[in-house]
Amino acid sequence: MNELEIHALTVSIAGKYVCRELSLALHAGTCLGLLGGNGAGKTTLLHTLAGLRAPDSGEILLHGAPLAALPRRRIAQQLGLLMQQQEDSLPASVLETALIGRHPHIEFWRWESHADVNIARRALKMVGLDGLEQRMQTQLSGGERRRLAIATVLTQDPHLFLLDEPAHQLDLHHQLALLRHFAALAREQGRVIIMSLHDVNLAARFCNRVLMLFGAGETLCGDSTETLTAGNLSRLYQTPVAPLHWAGGTVFVPDQAREADRT
């Protein structure tokens, strides 16, 4: 059975289509990169897939069950969402913040067990925040807060990860370490990852599939090696992009020569 199936999904926001009649089936081990320009609707699509907003039409199946009919807690046990921004006006410690990821797994009357705390500790170690457990989250830097949010979704330990710009605000080391970790979760444990990215080279390196949102509801989905081409990317970002073959791989860069031609 497919982990996530999308049938004829149409999503729009503020009168603009994000996707029209989009159908996709994601099986275990898929790491899907979601690419698109600013305002193309990446976040809206991710929130729709998380069941936080209703699509205009179409159906989303989570393990074969319609998402719209599932209780929120059941969804949260299987599906985790990393949001682009997080509120933190009320104080909480780093460990407390990570531990709320266990919320959907803990029975109503129970407290977090030692096992839950250990899961949170492992996640904090994964994102390099071990040692800061008792620190207030408001005392962290922007990048550290971002890693804390990632630790929270890792603590939630869902089968399906929806990550809204996981690389945003992270330094090079943490970008690579964390994306490598997510790619490994997909490859080795059969988890499904959908992540929006602005860096096409990260998508080329870590994603096995790619979904491009061109705006106005037009989409393109396929294997990353076939879909990530200079032609598609130039059209996606409306900026000339050139492939650079280097060290046995391909890197995409803005094509300065053609940029100059256009201006």
Binding site: Q86, S89, A92, E96, T97, I100, G101, H103, W111, Q134
Partner: protein, 328 residues
Amino acid sequence: MQRHLQPVPLLVALAMLTIMAFFVALAVGSVHLPLRGVIEALGGGADPLTRTLVLQLRLPRAVTAFATGGLLALAGALMQVLLRNPLADPYILGVSGGAAAGALTSLLLGLAGIWVSGSAFVGALVSTLMVFALAHGRGGWTPTRLLLTGIVVAFGWGAVISLLLILSNNASLRGMLFWLMGDLSYRGSGWLPLAVVSAGLAVCLPFARHLNVLARGETLAEALGIAVRPFTIAIYIGASLFTAVAVTEAGAIGFVGLVIPHMLRLVSGSDHRTLLPGAVLLGGSLLLLADTLARTIVAPQQLPVGIVTAAIGVPIFLYLLNRARGPL
């Protein structure tokens, strides 16, 4: 690095503070009673005068003060999570304004007792429903819309209150001012607010972990499996009800609802499983001690308890805030 007190020792200490506050409140007053006499009277012994003093006069007022403080602190903690705003207090959505307008109208008409508290309760409910309906508007509830609607409605009530004060004669003005500053000298039996605060805490406590999650934002809470819409509506109704009962019993006592939750966050962290019972015990004992002071320091005159809560609470809170490292 911030060191927090462990929950169990903290709650035990607060429970002991509460018991101590009760004994002080029962022993101190126009006639000072020895501790032994108070204990005997509570057990049904002691001489008739002591018994009357303890059981009929001081205990009802002490229970009312404790329950009111507990209700305000509990409502404050809930409002701060609902609006995710550290400046939120039980009155921020205009509940006290509506209650005050109701109570002052009855005082102006020369009514007393149950009429005053009854109209205060009705005023509080009217204000709550009004804010709730107006804030939804066409866009749905968001913390900012609720907050702005509440503040504007409270401002409107403020004008009504000023008008009522201007219209009042000298005889009722003093009672009105006492009511506005918070006053526990109208003695109900106190068991109703105590029942409300106990039941309220019992209902909220199982949802304390949900509150921890909601405190991190509505979308995240939804993504972590909480049905946010019904949950936030329930918090709103609960907090408004607790506030309405507190205001009905004792007038608009400020400060307790805003500051007690913050005090606890500073000393024990922000887990609501500790915070909610801690807030009830600390808010209750603070108001109880404040009321004991209010009726004794200038005896036989009585001060409005609101003045004393501020006199005790402001320095304690500023000390804690000043000692806390880093942002709150």
